[in-house]
Symmetry: C2
Subunit: 356 residues, 2 copies
């Protein structure tokens, strides 16, 4: 209906100039990208050392390959050869990469604080990243990490983070993977407010609690909720004082949680942060929020309709926000959240750093 | 893990005291409700005159019944007999009802401005409304309206709207069905801002444009987007001056829309309202918003992951809000949106009022 403006196809900031098919698609929805390993004026060329495959995608490939690492490698080579990107055609998911900057297009030279040789991690999905692979060097079944020789293209400054030198690569990757959560929590939390974090003892939950606790100050309150009060994460939350209260509850059981709210969170929450990795916790999140409060869904298991109909069903006037993996400065803020809390960094290093 | 507090089961504001199975569920997720037609202290008993069945549910029943109205009626009687509510077990959806207040529980007498005899429409889904049917009086295949004799229970003041006497019932129902949209748009729109409404020529889109146009004032701009500039809704938008500009575009084709943005909306939008009734328009909505702008997804076709990954993929720092069907005062505001605009009311009356 609308003809693309003539200039768009040449160097689009969203990368549509790399789309081969179907015509008119953007890189993520495209079937196939041009993966020519040379930087155009608005692109960054990276040499890639490893891919962190999305867990859903890795599980699918592992099962299809009967657990054979070499066959998984072949599957990845075939996908990238066919599509010009590591976009698993069955799960629809990708992952991220680690590599070094090899060339910076003229348009981005001044805009980005980046130099050739910088070691970086991509912050956008492999499903939209042009990728050319020469060979697979190894597949680590335990961590979904695939060591490769290859090249990738990034379209803008916002799409990567420099890897820090003060922590193991795997720890940095684990943190960058959920970097949106602490940054959004910091932005949404007011001094003196009550914040509830559901799924508080996981990776994003811990970072969210840390930021919330700092922001609410001495007048505010942070309450963590998770199904097991004796998990290592839950213990750490209490030991480090990252929460003021902890409720042992399964958020899929909204009615039971509702039963303890009058006693444990009588004021209800100004902000509820959902960091749960299972479906069915939308209603519990809504019930924890006060009228005109905010519910921030960071969990990718969130169902849009369950959230919308849930709030309507209980007649609750809450603002529900879709977690955005991207926020300005989120990568540095997430890494700093660990740097400022040595025991939290030690915990992440123990859990995620061993395989670095 | 948590035992329900003793008081909860007796008269819960969310109606959990009406749940028969499974134990611990809330009314919407419950399989079966107690539909005894008598008001407890925190309930409102209504005599029901008609059900407006959700369109997905009605379509499923119509197909299963080979278009036989009597068989559809039997299906509804059977569902309500089995579940104590009109909760289609196949589509998972319900609808709303129209009726008259028959009794008000002691706790709500002072809290609600409601009298026995008031003619009302429910604002919460039939999937969580205890319902007992005596008989089906008729099934209107054209409008999904089912005339019945029966009784329903409401749990709180927020869950219904008095039907106005100054417009046909079907017009009021059509407006109340999307009442969240104009209220949320009014709340989110600032004077002087740029608002884009995608799916502008439909029911919720028209109301959203009307509220946005009033709020942005002479310094602001409202832009409607829809696939057909010659649709009656699109023509009305321009004739009544509810939009300052109209872009004929299919929002499923994000790349084409992206091509015209530099010329038509160079400043990009402070607020994007998605009122589209097809899937796949998340990315177009995100691309229309400026950095740090807001995208409000009112469409129930919205995919949470498409929105979350879409924003991350284009590295856009936008706040994405899940449309909440409930907002304080939304019913009156939606009806007033028509009352204040006679030609819009006439249009709604022509389109939706004929079958009243």
């Amino acid at each position: 209906m609308i003809a693309p403006a003539p200039g768009v196809a040449k160097s689009c900031r969203y990368g549509s100039h790399r789309v081969l098919e179907p015509a008119g698609a953007l890189p993520q929805s495209a079937w196939r990208l041009d993966n020519t390993p040379a930087a155009k004026e608005n692109e960054i060329l990276c040499s890639v050392e490893s891919l962190s495959i999305d867990s859903a995608s890795f599980r699918q490939m592992r099962e299809a390959a009967n657990g054979d690492a070499r066959a998984i490698g072949e599957t990845i080579l075939e996908t990238v050869r066919t599509r010009g990107k590591q976009h698993n055609p069955i799960t629809g998911s990708g992952g991220m990469f680690v590599g070094r900057v090899a060339d910076v297009g003229a348009q981005l030279l001044d805009a980005c604080e980046v130099r050739v040789g910088d070691r970086i991690a991509s912050l956008v999905s492999l499903t939209l990243t042009p990728l050319a692979l020469e060979r697979i060097r190894g597949v680590d079944m335990a961590t979904s990490r695939v060591d490769v020789d290859g090249h990738a293209i990034l379209f803008a400054c916002a799409h990567f983070a420099r890897l820090p030198e003060d922590m193991p690569t795997n720890v940095a990757l684990a943190v960058l993977d959920v970097a949106g959560a602490p940054a959004q929590v910091r932005r949404l939390t007011a001094a003196g407010s009550t914040v509830v974090v559901i799924g508080a003892d996981g990776k994003s939950g811990l970072l969210a609690c840390a930021q919330a606790r700092e922001r609410v100050g001495s007048e505010g309150r942070v309450i963590g909720i998770a199904p097991d009060a004796s998990s290592r994460g839950a213990t750490l939350l209490r030991t480090l004082g990252l929460v003021d209260d902890f409720i042992e509850a399964d958020a899929r059981d909204a009615a039971s949680l509702l039963g303890v709210l009058p006693e444990r969170i009588p004021e209800l929450a100004d902000l509820v942060v959902n960091c749960v990795n299972v479906p069915g916790t939308e209603l519990a999140s809504i019930l924890c929020a006060r009228d005109e409060g905010t519910v921030y869904f960071f969990s990718m298991c969130t169902s849009f309709t369950a959230a919308a109909l849930g709030a309507e069903g209980v007649g609750k006037d809450v603002t529900m926000i879709v977690g955005n993996g991207f926020t300005k400065g989120h990568a540095e803020l997430a890494l700093d959240t660990l740097r400022a809390r040595r025991p939290l960094l030690d915990y992440f290093t123990e859990i995620y750093g061993a395989t670095a």
